[in-house]
């Protein structure tokens, strides 16, 4: 999966490395900004109230 991604990328080693790092940064940013805030209430429904 990742090996084929690497092969698909154009350019010499450092250009590919740069593209991979940029892609990873974009994915992490998307996770932090949209995916995780959405997922937070679903995975940790912590309740701090007392109720019946």
């Amino acid at each position: 999966m990742y090996a084929s991604l690497w092969r698909v990328l154009p350019g010499p080693f450092f250009v590919r490395l740069l593209i991979v790092l940029a892609l990873a940064a974009a994915i992490v940013a998307a996770l932090f900004l949209w995916v995780f805030p959405w997922a937070l209430p679903l995975v940790t429904p912590l309740d701090s109230t007392v109720h019946e």
Binding site: M1, Y2, A3, S4, R7, V8, V28, L31, F32, F36, P37, A39, L40, P41, V43, T44, P45, L46, D47, S48, T49, V50, H51, E52
Partner: protein
């Protein structure tokens, strides 16, 4: 996928290279693991700091609004009896009607208090929530609030560090109400007796002004509730100035926002 396949076919023609199902599965699992780790890092540190700062800014902005841009005076240490505290009317659901200021939680600790303990509308978004149906600040009976201790800015993370005599201030448009921390109690999630006008005495007629703070216990768990009780001491009408103990915070709010 199409692109990948053609690529592989071309590649395979030159040097035989297999992409096994197991290999792909392994990479997917590693990726999922990394995402879970990232989520934990984000939840425990990054998001908590972001949310906690934004809650503080909201509270400062709210205080500033009540001050109408005027400089905050400080009440003198020796002052006349301010009389019976003003009790505000019950606010609308999810409306921010107060701020909670606890010097023990940090010199710059202030959090908005909104009506109801709805997770979506108050506790996960505003900060501190007021149990609807319990009394208002300064009212005879029990002013009960809840907040998270893990995640969402964890407003009550240090609730177990309160010490006898610590000030717990509630600021509303009318002024500052000073409660004094008295004790902690551990109950189950069904321990609604802590919300009674006289906590744990169902039906008793209240004569004291109390405050109850509820949060979860232990940290990172919901198996119990940690309750902090505070007793009303005095109040500071807005016109007469803020208590000197929170001078830095009260006066900071005029320049914030």
């Amino acid at each position: 996928m199409v692109l990948e396949d053609t690529r592989r076919t071309r590649r395979d023609a030159k040097s035989p290279r297999r992409v096994s199902i197991i290999g792909i599965l392994g990479e997917v699992l590693i990726t999922v693991g990394v995402i879970v780790l990232l989520f934990l890092v984000w939840q425990t540190w990054i998001n908590n700091i972001v949310v906690s700062n934004s809650q503080r800014d909201d509270a400062l902005e709210q205080s500033q609004e009540w001050n109408k841009g005027e400089a905050v005076k400080l009440a003198p240490d020796e002052r006349a009896d301010p009389g019976v505290p003003v009790v505000s009317e019950a606010p609308a659901e999810a409306e921010v009607f107060g701020t909670l200021i606890v010097p023990r939680f940090g010199a710059d600790y202030t959090r908005p208090i909104a009506e109801s303990v709805s997770l979506e509308r108050v506790l996960n978004t505003r900060g501190v929530g007021h149990y609807t149906g319990t009394q208002m600040p300064g009212e005879v009976g029990n002013f009960a609030v809840a907040a998270h201790r893990t995640g969402w800015g964890d407003p009550f993370i240090d609730i177990n560090k309160l010490q006898l005599g610590d000030s717990v201030y509630v600021e509303t448009e009318a002024g500052w109400y000073r409660y004094v921390f008295r004790s902690l109690e551990y109950v189950s999630a069904a321990g609604i007796g802590v919300l009674d006008p006289v906590p744990q005495f169902d039906g008793a007629i209240a004569s004291d002004r109390l405050m109850t703070l509820t949060s979860c216990n232990p940290l990172y768990s919901v198996s119990e509730r940690l309750i902090a009780y505070a007793v009303f001491d005095t109040w500071y009408p807005r016109s007469e100035g803020a208590p000197s103990e929170i001078a830095a915070l009260a006066q900071n709010s005029e320049g914030a926002g």
